[in-house]
Symmetry: C2
Subunit: 146 residues, 2 copies
DNA sequence: TTATATAAGACTAATTTAGTCGTATATTGG
DNA sequence: CCAATATACGACTAAATTAGTCTTATATAA
């Protein structure tokens, strides 16, 4: 089906929510997992884990305790879709053989398609790198750039 | 992981094999499932089903009986990667919501990312449409174009 | 008429992904 | 201080998808 997994979607949605919120309500910087899971109907424990992972990778900063939550650490145009995809989906690897470090593919030696496939792979990867979270914010996000 | 499924890989490899074979041995047009599965170490029954599906979609023509097998029905630059991906992976649908016909996504209404995501989706789809099996054949495939 | 090939659908196994649960830790405010 | 609320994290279960198998039927060349 060629799709991102749901954690990636949840992560992008969560970050995007924080981006818009910071822009519209700059005085309220902290967003809790509960707020996002309620608003977008995402199972709370799952979203919590997603945000924890984002915090672990430094894309957001966590604040413990009552009134705690998460705060963005980067500007939206400094976060790429590729950054988020990498965390939850791992690398773009259209073909089986591109993920493994060692050559385990029985087709490898005589494979007719690995090189051009790799090129296609890189083109997609490039698209993801070039799309920032500011881009994802769409029209209303244009004001965020800069 | 953002990958094609194995059937898509097998199909591309099989077609590519037939493309090269037709070019290098124009007198031997028929290729059996057994030949391909042996050469690339693909489980025979699985590859057989893949080829059957390709035959059903008209990308190859089947020949029954002894000395039977499959023959390409199109020129390599008239087959796109997207054609093959569509058969085994279905449409490119980065986000969950793009595959369903009806809106079932609980995020849909307030979703911040669906439109720009759709754009990204289309860019990838375009890459797949623009890459032909002749392109996949790589350097040696250039002689095939035209 | 036998050996070999595709056709097709039902089935099972393996893997991946989604989601849950329990427990620990940090922080605010009464 | 303590109760309420939030994150941290690992182990676990459930659901869904994908990979691969098995069986039976049909067509064809030699």
């Amino acid at each position: 089906m060629l799709h991102f997994n749901r954690k990636t979607e949840y992560a992008l949605l969560a970050i995007e929510h924080m981006v818009r919120k910071e822009y519209q309500h700059p005085q309220v910087l902290i967003t809790s997992a509960r707020e996002i899971s309620d608003l977008y109907h995402i199972p709370y424990p799952l979203l919590a884990k997603v945000l924890q992972k984002l915090a672990g990778r430094g894309l957001v900063k966590s604040v413990h305790g009552t009134k705690g939550g998460y705060v963005l650490t980067k500007r939206p145009h400094d976060i790429s879709v590729a950054d988020v995809v990498q965390i939850f989906d791992g690398p773009v690897a259209l073909a089986e053989c591109f993920r493994a470090q060692k050559i385990t593919c029985p087709q490898w030696d005589g494979c007719l398609i690995k090189d051009p496939f790799y090129e296609l792979n890189n083109k997609i990867q490039t698209l993801l790198v070039q799309t920032s979270l500011a881009d994802l914010a769409g029209k209303s996000g244009e004001a965020l750039i800069g």
